[in-house]
Subunit: 138 residues, 2 copies
C-alpha cells in the first residue's frame, strides 16, 4: 500500500480532536464503542520500529494522554490499546474504553459478541476531551 | 484482582527470554502463532497510565526491541501490538508476528479464523532471540 492508495494518508471525514506535525488524534464516533479514539501517524510508515525513537515516544505519549483523558471522563473498567495495521499498514493506535457489561467483555472488540447491549453509554464530552488533549500535548 | 489472585504476579511455567527489575519478556510458545512474545510488568498495575512515565518508556522500548527482533528473525507481513488486560488487568503487551496467509489475516488473532493453516512456520531461534534482547536491553 502506497501513500496514493492508503486511506490513512488522507484525513477526509475524520473527526480530528488534536493534530500536530507528527500525528492526529481522532474520535472514531462508533456508538457501539463510546470514547474509542485513534492516534494516527500523519506520514506513511507501517511499523513502530520504522520510526525514529523520538517519534515512537511522542506517539506513545499521545496514546497515554488519550488513555488518561478517557479514564477521567468515562471511568471504564479497562482501557484497550492496540496497533495492528493488518488492513491498513500505516501506524495507528486504537484506544478503546471497555466496560465489564459491554457486548464483548472480556474479549477484545474484534472477537464475536458475547451478549446484547445492556447499558447504552454516551461518548465523552467532545469539548472536554479536546481541552485535555490540547492542554497535555500542545 | 489482587496480587494474590493475579496469574501474572507469578511466573510459574513462563518461558522467560529476558528479565529485569521492571518487566520480563516471555515466549508464548503457541504453535498457532510462532514468535508470539509478551512483555509483562513484574509488579501489579492495571493500566499504562498507572505507571510513572519512565516505566512506560522502558516497557515500550522493550516492546519495540521485541518487534525489531521478530521482524529481523521472521520477516512477517506485519507486527501486531496490543495491551488489553480485560481478563487479567495486569499490564502486559502482546507482540504478534502476522503473515498474509495466516489463519486470521487481516483480522486480529482474537477474531474468528478465516481459513485453515496453509504454511506451517517455525518459532524463531530461541538463542538468537535471547541474544538480541540481551544485547539491546541489558
Amino acid at each position: 500500500m502506497t501513500q496514493n492508495t492508503c486511506p490513512l494518508c488522507q484525513t477526509d471525514n475524520e473527526d480530528i480532536l488534536f493534530r500536530n506535525d507528527l500525528y492526529r488524534i481522532i474520535a472514531v464516533n462508533d456508538p457501539a464503542w463510546p470514547g474509542f479514539c485513534r492516534v494516527i501517524l500523519n506520514r506513511h510508515a507501517a511499523e513502530m520500529t520504522d520510526l525514529p525513537i523520538e517519534d515512537r515516544s511522542a506517539l506513545m505519549k499521545a496514546v497515554c494522554v488519550v488513555e488518561s483523558a478517557l479514564r477521567d471522563l468515562m471511568q471504564p473498567t479497562k482501557i484497550n490499546l492496540a496497533s495492528l495495521g493488518n488492513v491498513v499498514p500505516h501506524v495507528h493506535w486504537h484506544i478503546i474504553p471497555r466496560w465489564a457489561d459491554d457486548t464483548h467483555f472480556p474479549d477484545p472488540i474484534w472477537a464475536a459478541a458475547k451478549r446484547p447491549v445492556s447499558t447504552v453509554r454516551s461518548a465523552p464530552d467532545r469539548a472536554a476531551l479536546v481541552r485535555i488533549l490540547s492542554d497535555c500535548l500542545a
